[in-house]
């Protein structure tokens, strides 16, 4: 077996543990006395260490080991949590993350030993007050437990054959220790075989597994319940062996005892009896085995010293962890594709029934049924793809904490709506833009403490990150109570950078000026810092969000702060669209971007600055003739009334002139493929009920 097949699991789990540690250490900083938090940290660090060790990442293991030592002392109360210590711990987490990134890229942890960090950890460790008495305590119950419980470990029922007996005796003769072990895997463990493998690997470092029950093959094939038993030969003391087993994460516990020569003989005797008379199992010590050999759960399992002290608490206040299934996104895509074909089938049925003017009612019934099925299927598949944005935003409190120190500004981040769900692909992409916005808010938005005090605001600045669902959109708002955007400064900057001319600047509204911030190569920060101010932030934010079919807006009031609003569609694959006819060709316009549909007479169109506009209920809206944009002849008489679809992009509106409206339809978005890349105004294609392809207009590209 090769460890590499577990690499992916390792990376995923390590990420989770690191995130967990980040969050919990932040909590610890706020509330240094919270026992639950400390225990949680300890557990995460412990699993991390075990995982790194079994995967053979020694540097990672060393670092986590030293971190764990510190946590252990904190838990025992011999070290108090201090600000400086938290900083060191965060640096350690960063170092671990670096290891992880290296592992992810190359499969190797790199060569950075992070010695200074380890030294710092040891300094912290040595500052403890009374080390000796506390440390030994947790060890004791472990050793005693298996004995005290008088429970029948399963390894006792393992049978040997002649050769195995010989091997064991040989080992004893060589002065090695022979142990019987029973290892129990946690019930929640998903990959039992992988865990078992890690146990084996850990054991093989220390000695040799002679017999396993069930057989190694069965264990690899996951053909075992929650535990497996081993006869094991090693030079190391039993404690060390048990420790090695328990360092594997998701192992609930391990029991073991030494087997001396006599017992080996006993076992042999038993095996001999067994061969002749399989029913009567003659084991002298302890006899209980016979009575309950099939009991599923050993009544008591030795906990690892780490988990031991906290066992009760963790059961009582076990946090509601999301039980997740990792689904390959490709599989989901296949499912998605199937659903889309189903919808296409439905659409063709619809068009067939329309053609059949007799209006066969039973066909209609079927269609309605099919429709409800497809809608449900669509919804449930979509839900599978949805993940809470929590996975992205949970790293922000840590970031703000770092910024507080770096910028020497006091600020607090308040988050809400972390449970809001978005399509997986969107969630993966949204992290960077949000980070940009938050950094911006911290660096540019919030004023330094003295300025805030002078302005009569609380010294500690507030940044809010709110997420919520709004119809078919998810809205994420980044808000600060800082200085707000100085439109005059923006205007000046824009003029000096040549983004706009002074004349243009005169006629621009405040909102238009703020939108200039999204222009490429624009930064108003007087000082360029490494946090923001490179002038790439906001236009990257904008393009990234637009790539996700979303939009971003900014609103601001001088002295009161600014609000950045990101709007994202819930899903990208299936949308409601308005089908329109332009010059005999069919195009789809996403319903989400349509404001209204108007019928206007040709003389309502006015010309302003060589551009056609209409005045619609007091608002001047530019007119875009789609037939011109799409290079096609309109089939309509220019004298006739025109149908204008008013679309919006953020706060802006535009009127699209179409030949005819064809109705609303649920469409499945298909990519045009890698080959057609030149056409910016078409965002994709869809297949209509009659099998024809219709193109989807990207109205955002028309503005």
């Amino acid at each position: 077996m090769d460890v590499s097949q577990y690499l992916e699991i390792f990376i995923d789990e390590t990420k989770e543990h690191l995130q967990n540690l980040n969050t919990e250490i932040l909590n610890l900083e706020q509330d240094p006395e919270n026992v639950d938090t400390i225990n949680e940290i300890f557990r995460a660090a412990h699993s991390l260490k075990g995982m790194a060790g079994t995967m053979g990442y020694k540097r990672m293991q060393t670092l986590t080991h030293d971190m764990e030592n510190v946590f252990s002392e904190v838990r025992n109360g011999s070290i108090k949590v201090k600000g400086n210590m938290i900083d060191i711990l965060f640096q350690c987490l960063d170092a671990l993350e670096e290891y992880l990134n290296l592992i992810q890229e190359s499969g190797d942890e790199g060569t950075n030993d992070n010695e200074p960090l380890i030294r710092q950890l040891n300094v912290v460790l040595n500052s403890k007050e009374s080390p000796a008495p506390v440390e030994k305590k947790p060890e004791e119950p472990v050793k005693k437990e298996p004995v005290e419980e008088g429970d029948a470990p399963k390894w006792l029922s393992i049978k040997f054959d002649g050769t195995q007996k010989h091997v064991l005796q040989e080992a004893v003769n060589q002065g090695k220790n022979v142990y019987g072990l029973t290892v129990k895997v946690q019930e929640a463990c998903i990959l039992k075989a992988a865990r078992a493998f890690l146990v084996f690997k850990a054991l093989e470092d220390l000695g040799e597994v002679i017999i396993s029950s069930p057989s190694v093959q069965d264990i690899e094939d996951e053909k075992f319940d929650l535990d497996f038993s081993l006869i094991y030969v090693s030079d190391s003391p039993l404690e060390k062996v048990l420790q090695a087993v328990k360092s594997v994460s998701e192992i609930e516990g391990a029991q073991g005892a030494a087997i001396d020569e006599e017992k080996i003989k006993d076992f042999t005797g038993e095996a001999a009896v067994k061969e002749k008379e399989p029913v009567a199992v003659a084991v002298e010590e302890p006899p209980v085995v016979v009575e309950k050999p099939v009991e599923r759960k050993p009544p008591a399992v030795a906990q690892s010293p780490a988990a031991k002290g906290t066992e009760k608490k963790s059961q009582m206040s076990k946090p509601a962890v999301n039980r997740t299934v990792r689904v390959d996104i490709e599989k989901l895509d296949v499912l998605m594709n199937l659903v889309s074909e189903l919808i296409i089938a439905k659409n063709s049925l619809v068009s067939a029934s329309v053609g059949d003017s007799a209006g066969n009612s039973s066909v209609n019934e079927h269609i309605e049924y099919l429709e409800s099925v497809t809608t449900n299927l669509h919804e449930s598949v979509m839900k599978v793809r949805m993940v809470p944005i929590e996975s992205v935003v949970s790293k922000f409190p840590r970031m703000i904490r770092d910024l507080t120190k770096k910028l020497d500004k006091k600020m607090e981040l308040y988050m809400s709506g972390e449970e809001t769900e978005l399509d997986r692909t969107v969630v993966d992409e949204i992290g960077d833009p949000l980070m940009h916005l938050l950094r911006n808010a911290a660096d540019h938005g919030l004023e330094p403490g003295e300025v805030r005090k002078a302005a009569g605001k609380p010294e500690v600045g507030s940044i809010f990150l709110d997420a919520y669902q709004d119809g078919n959109n998810v809205v994420i708002e980044v808000r600060d109570d800082g200085a707000g955007i100085n439109t005059d400064a923006v205007k000046e900057k824009a003029i000096s950078r040549g983004v706009i001319t002074p004349e243009q600047g005169e006629s621009m509204t405040d909102q238009e000026i703020m939108n200039l911030l999204f222009h490429a190569g624009f930064s108003t920060a007087e000082k360029v810092s490494d946090i923001s101010g490179r002038g790439v932030g906001l236009d990257v934010v904008k393009s990234k969000i637009e790539a996700l079919s979303g939009e971003v807006e900014v609103k601001s009031k001088m002295g009161m702060g600014s609000t950045w609003t990101i709007r994202l569609p819930l899903t990208l694959a299936i949308i409601q669209a308005l089908m329109v006819d332009v010059g005999g060709e069919k195009y789809a316009i996403s319903l989400g971007s349509i404001q209204t549909i108007e019928d206007i007479t040709p003389d309502e169109i006015k010309t302003v600055q060589n551009k056609e506009v209409i005045n619609l209920r007091g608002i001047v809206i530019p007119i875009i003739r789609l037939n011109g944009v799409l290079d096609i002849e309109s089939k309509k008489n220019p004298e006739d009334n025109m149908t204008v679809v008013i679309v919006k992009k953020g706060d802006r509106l535009a009127g699209l002139v179409v030949d005819e409206l064809m109705g609303q339809q649920e469409i499945v978005i298909k990519s045009l493929g890698r080959y057609i890349t030149k056409c910016k105004i078409i965002s994709g294609a869809t297949i209509l009920g009659d099998g024809e392809v219709a193109l989807i207009l990207d109205t955002n590209a028309l503005f």
Binding site: R674, I682, V693, L695
Partner: protein, 155 residues
């Protein structure tokens, strides 16, 4: 002996013979995913003129190009024999090309394939990587699909 024969046979390449105007061209069969009848092609605006648009092939949207336009031949005339050959290319994904007719599949031994070494100024010759020689003496131009499909800005 028997094994040897099989090995010899594996050094052959199969080509689909298509007609474009009066000339015949060969397309290596390993790149051909599918051959479909002419169907409605949805025009895509603002793209290169040789890109005719997209079609629906069992739920997939596939771009279709005109080899005639690309080769500066007279524009396509769609007849009953017109076919769209769906090519499967690693870089560009699936793409359809329009041909006047699909004739047959031939198997050419590698010795029957002669690479063209000369640089031709004539546009359409640049799309050919070799000439195939029939046993009966006939010749066939073998299309270099990568240069056929390659994007060309000037058109």
């Amino acid at each position: 002996m028997e094994e040897l024969k099989v090995e010899l046979r594996s050094e052959t390449t199969q080509f689909i013979i298509v007609r474009l105007g009066d000339e015949q061209y060969g397309i290596a069969i390993k790149y051909v995913d599918n051959i479909v009848r002419m169907q409605h092609i949805t025009r895509v605006p603002k793209v290169q003129s040789y890109l005719k648009g997209v079609i629906n092939l069992r739920g997939e949207v596939i771009p279709v190009m005109s080899i005639r336009v690309k080769m500066d031949l007279p524009a396509d005339e769609y007849t009953k024999a017109t076919r769209i050959i769906i090519l499967k290319l690693e870089q560009q994904g699936n793409i359809g090309i329009i041909v006047d007719e699909v004739k047959e599949v031939v198997t050419l031994d590698n010795s029957q394939i002669e690479k063209v070494a000369y640089e031709s100024k004539e546009e359409k010759d640049n799309f050919i990587f070799a000439i195939g020689k029939y046993a009966d003496g006939g010749l066939i131009s073998l299309l270099d699909l990568n240069s056929v499909v390659l994007e060309k800005e000037s058109v």
